[in-house]
Amino acid sequence: MSIELKGISKRFGDVSAVENVSFSVGEGELVALLGPSGGGKTTVLRMIAGLEVPTSGELLVRGQVVNDLPVQARNIGFVFQGYALFKTMNVFNNIAFGLSVRKRPKSEIAERVEELLRLFQLEGLGRRYPHQLSGGQRQRVAIARALAPRPSVLLLDEPFGAVDAKVRQELRDWLVHLHDELSVTTLFVTHDQEEAMEVSNRIVIFSRGRLEQIGTPREVYEEPSNEFVARFIGVMNVLELKVQDGLARHQELSFPAHGVADGGILRLGFRPYAVQVSAETTAYSHVARLKHVYFLGVQLRLELETASGLILRARIGKEEFRRLGLVEGREVSFQIREYRILARDGEPLGQEVRALQSSANFAEGI
């Protein structure tokens, strides 16, 4: 185990930033700490680095308790959100800093820096100063600088926050390749679920200082452990239904009540891709108007509005959209293929429920 947190909490005065968080990261893993801002993920990262001291709990790096070990002694590479390059030093000296404060021989430093400049495609930029670099170059310098003293763990705080969308994508791919090549244990903080899903082996999800779930991207997407995770990872339609006569209803929609007594409240959610749409108004049991179509490239996002004004979001492939002959503003029919009982926030989620094969599917069969 490379990093292990055991019941870590952090309070800033009266404010609790992190509450009783435990998880571990294996050697060579690439892990994302994901959550909305203020969720405590950056605080966790800073505690691992030694830039903050946990209020309680144990922090282990390679089996050794490091709670009281100062930041200098932890041998950790930290990349700040704003990169925090030394602006009075050129690129070479920035990258060399970690080695020169350790009083390594000059020749060794030069060799290591050259090696990193090559690896990070920064050849020829050694004499430039940070303000003469592009955002992407600055970030690469920041990572190279953190890696120069060969840290056992690389920590990155919102590494893709400060660059534009196109560079972001490049940097993501590049971080994955870099990780494959160096296989240094890497943790990064992000608030972008797509980024976390795409880049990491595992995702640790935080909200309001608590750990909500930890798992592979597939696990947290397909088996979210609570409503927060379900809604945070990807888009989800959420309905609150009142149970009556054994059926949970919300305006036109009704679902089996799943053991909730009459008068009870049931929350359920479904992914946009679970909504099946047809241009044929009789194809499925529910009818709605196709209010808006958002073109996203390969996929399209549809906004459906039922007669009572309920808005549902659906996602559909470009090809399928064309095949179905959908037109914005027209009446369509839809059904919800699968959904999930969310119950209340924080409770474990129920298994995904397949919608009953209704007459709608029968109609499609014909």
Partner: protein, 298 residues
């Protein structure tokens, strides 16, 4: 000069906007400001040099070579070195504490640093007399132990430190605050000790501002009259600094040419300071814009 003035209207009409003053109003205002500067600043300065060299270079250097004058110059340098050095030490530590930490008494410290700006230098000098003078609070004890503070070098240095107190710290605090602490944290994370971080990251990022503060501090230390005159009591050849010597030559001995010769040293210092100041301000502005551009990216 006239050529420049003649070419003005064309430039003005090209760049005129609705909010601009009329060309005549502009010329009037600029003219008044220039005239004011000429009468109250340039003319006296020129006069200093004219008077100083009025009796030829030989007389000039002879005036400067007088033993009492030489003693005054030496004393001024010693006082400047001591007070600038001590204020540098104080300014660096105070500005670092204030910019990087929140602690009880922080606001009080900030206010106290500004105190010398609002207290008359004469009052400052008097404070030391009241404290260390023969009739002062610590006077008898100092007398017993044969320690001389007022009417001696320590008193002059103390008074000078008092009046030059704010220069270094005041210059550094806003600079350090605008830099934030991320670069320092980065240095620590890379394994640097606190000292290494300070010397290699913190200090270089404010070096131009620091130089600027030191230079202003030095100019004031060498030129201070009020506070120093109170604590030195002007013993010729012993506790006269350059400004005291100038006044003594002019008012006491009435050797005006010699007075102006010595005064020209201070005037010359002022000019050098002015040139350095302009240059440093430019470097420092770059420092500040760099710091703020780093912040904007967050």
């Amino acid at each position: 000069m006239s050529a420049i003035v003649r070419s003005r209207p064309a430039v003005v009409s090209k760049s005129r906007r609705g909010s601009d003053e009329s060309p005549w109003a502009r010329r009037m205002l600029i003219g008044v400001a220039m005239l004011f500067l000429a009468i109250f600043l340039v003319l006296p300065l020129v006069n200093v040099f004219v008077q100083a060299f009025g009796e030829g270079l030989g007389a000039y250097f002879q005036a400067l070579g007088h033993p009492d004058t030489r003693a005054a110059i030496l004393l001024t340098f010693v006082v400047a070195v001591c007070s600038v050095g001590l204020n540098l030490l104080f300014g660096l530590t105070a500005s670092w504490c204030i910019a990087k930490f929140q602690f009880p008494g922080r606001t009080l410290l900030l206010t106290l640093i500004d105190l010398p700006f609002s207290v008359s230098p004469v009052v400052a000098g008097l404070l030391y007399i009241v404290l260390f003078g023969r009739q002062g609070i610590l006077g008898p004890w100092l007398d017993e132990h044969d320690i001389h503070i007022v009417f001696a070098l320590p008193g002059i240095v103390l008074a000078t430190i008092f009046v030059t107190f704010p220069f270094v710290a005041r210059e550094l605090i806003p600079l350090l605050e605008s830099q934030g602490t991320e670069q320092e944290q980065a240095a620590l994370a890379l394994g640097a000790t606190g000292w290494q971080t300070y010397w290699r990251v913190t200090l270089p990022s404010v070096k131009w501002g620091l130089l600027y503060g030191v230079m202003l501090c030095n100019a004031r230390a060498m030129g201070e009259f009020g506070a120093v005159s109170v604590v030195s009591s002007g013993i010729t050849g012993q506790t006269d600094t350059i400004p005291l010597r100038v006044v003594k030559l002019d008012m006491g001995i009435a050797d005006h040419a010699a007075a102006f010769a010595v005064a020209s040293l201070l005037a010359f210092l002022a000019l050098v300071t002015l040139v350095l100041k302009t240059w440093l301000e430019r470097r420092q502005n770059r420092e500040l814009t760099l710091a703020s551009s780093n912040l904007n990216e967050h």
